[in-house]
Each structure stands twice: as structure tokens, then as C-alpha cells.
Symmetry: C2
Subunit: 180 residues, 2 copies
Amino acid sequence: MALEHALLVALSEKPGSGLELARRFERTLGFFWQASHQQIYRVLARMEADGWVEVETVAQEGRPDKRVHTPSATGRAVLREWLAAPMTLEEFRSETAVKLRGASYGDRAAVLRNLAQARADHATRLTHYEQLEREQFPDPAGLTGAALDRWLVLRGGVRLEQFWIDWTTDYLKAHGEAPR
Amino acid sequence: MALEHALLVALSEKPGSGLELARRFERTLGFFWQASHQQIYRVLARMEADGWVEVETVAQEGRPDKRVHTPSATGRAVLREWLAAPMTLEEFRSETAVKLRGASYGDRAAVLRNLAQARADHATRLTHYEQLEREQFPDPAGLTGAALDRWLVLRGGVRLEQFWIDWTTDYLKAHGEAPR
DNA sequence: AGCCCCATGTAACCGGTTACATGATTGG
DNA sequence: CCAATCATGTAACCGGTTACATGGGGCT
């Protein structure tokens, strides 16, 4: 329902080409909204056709030209309207949860092994997020506006990884595995 | 990639018709995997064609017949194989997160208002989960096997709602709103 | 010469959502 | 009689994924 809107947020922070957006998504908004470059190009083309963004072709030294997108007045209005709309209760879809629930119908030892690996992966990502937090927000107390929002969303990423670690730890312990 | 597998888990717990499955999904697995009856019918038909389930038509008093699905030997083997496969690092896709990050490009007061509502919705769901836990698992210490798994997944639901409440509380407080 | 990176895309597919359809039975 | 429930579907759409394509530049 809303790669368009995620792109408008990203372009409001900083105009950019399709590939730049794809790379930014991997690093920032991508914690909570993933998008491949193919899909970004397709949606950007639609947004351009609908007049949500303005495009400027920028020549570069020793590289292909890039098409830099900026939200238009229409795009900014669309974004404002979307931001003010009520949030729907979000659903969480987890293959892992299905596996945990179904473990007794297969090889439980394998499930526990894979879960321990998943737990380690989440721990790695948590460490990464915490490092980003130290680097980008050394003094959170003084933040306001968009910078404060960016910090709070990163905090959400940290909290989410902690959720995963806590839950998987619960599961492993309850089945007699001692994590870490 | 895996409504098939979620259905195999559900049918392993208890065989059932399409509509029964749809209702069960709303109450149990649905915390972590939502599915409409339309899609369940479609996937069940494919599973039947592929020989993953066996179907028995059961006549009922004063109601239409129902087609009860049970995992076949093939289906059980498919489920075992899927359960043993490594888990991929799960991505979380949140429209709310995008709105929080973009709040400064629209009406922040409206975003905060909607977020307070979202927080209340998650609190309601948390209360609901906790009630289910008290009803269905009054004595978790004695659980083993599939029942233990069901409790642990419900615990995951509780933890997830707590994550939402904690995060939204962070955000509201940082922007000078006092929740509750 | 071969490979990776930049940059922009197209095409086929696939899973899930939404809207609609049918027909029987029970309850107000 | 009407509405709701049980039960099973079909059809159109839509967003996202995967695979493939193109062409120039720099690096080894």
C-alpha cells in the first residue's frame, strides 16, 4: 500500500536517483521497509507519471547520467495526507513462528539448531544497530524534529531485535537448550 | 512462501474444512500468519491436487457437507522437510515506522494522535493475549511437546505487543506526549 | 581480456487482497 | 419474510520477487 509513501519520505529527506534510494533503503528505512531497485524504478516511474515527483537529469564525471527525483507540490500534499491518516493495526507475519508451533511434527532438534542460528543472526543485527546508534546519535538528549524521528525509529529497530532475542531465548530454554 | 506449510501445521494439529481452518487462523496461528478463507480454499485445492492432503466429505445435520482435509504421507514428509530447513532472517515491514520517520514532513500532531490510538489498540490486543494465556495455559510449568510450543508462540505474541507498546511509548514521550 | 561497479530498466511470475457468487438452513 | 450463518468457491487486481538485459567506465 505504500512504497510510494516510503519513497516520498526518503526523497523529502534528500532527493536522489533510483539506485541511491535503493542503497539508502538498505541502510536506514530498510529496517522497516525493504525494496529492491527494480521495484523502486517501477514505482518512481509511476510517481513521475502521476506528477508526484520532479526529475532532473544530472550528468556525472566518468559515470552514466542519473535521474534525480524530488517531491513535487502534489507529492508533498499526498505525503501530508497519508501521514495524517489513521494507522491500521499492523499484522506480523512470521514463518519462524509457524515452525516453532509445528516443531513437534518434524525433527525438533533441527528446529532448535536453526533457531539458535536465527537467534545469533538477530544478535548480530542488534549489535549493528547499536553501533549505528552510537555513531549517528551520540547525544540523543539534544535531538529534535526529523533527527529525533530517525533516532526513535532506529530505537524501534533495536527494540525489535531485542524482542527476537528474548523470544528465541524463551523457546530454546523451555526446550532445554541453553543459549549463548 | 508458505501458507501451504502453515496449513500443514494446522491440519496436523487437527484436520478440518476450509472454513474451520480460516476460523482457527484468526484465533491461533493468525497472530503470526493471517489468511483469508478465499486464499485458504485456493491453496487447499492445490495441496489436494499435489497429494499433500486427503479429503473426506462429511455430511452434517442441517448444514452443508464439509470437506475435511488431513495431511497425507506426502504432506507429512513435505512438512518435516520444511521444518528442518534453515530459517531466513525475517524482515519486518511497518507502515507505522515509515510514518514515524516522516512525521516532520506533515502534521506531527495528527501522527502523534494516531500513534496514541495505535498504542491503545496494541494494549487491547496484549490484554486479549494475556487472557488467552490464563485460560489455555494456567500451569505452563508442566507443558511439553506441541502444547508447550503453542504456549511459547503465544508468549511471542505477548512479547510482540509489549514491543509495540514500549516503542510507541518511547516515541510519544520523546515528543512530549505522556501516554496512558 | 575479464570482471565488477554505476545506472536504468523489462518481463514473467506468484502470493495475497478485495469483491462477488451460490445455495442451503436456522432464528427473529 | 429477512437476516445471519455455514460452506465453498471464482475473478480481477495489485504489490513484490526473481531473473534477465543493456551499455559505459574503471581496475587488474
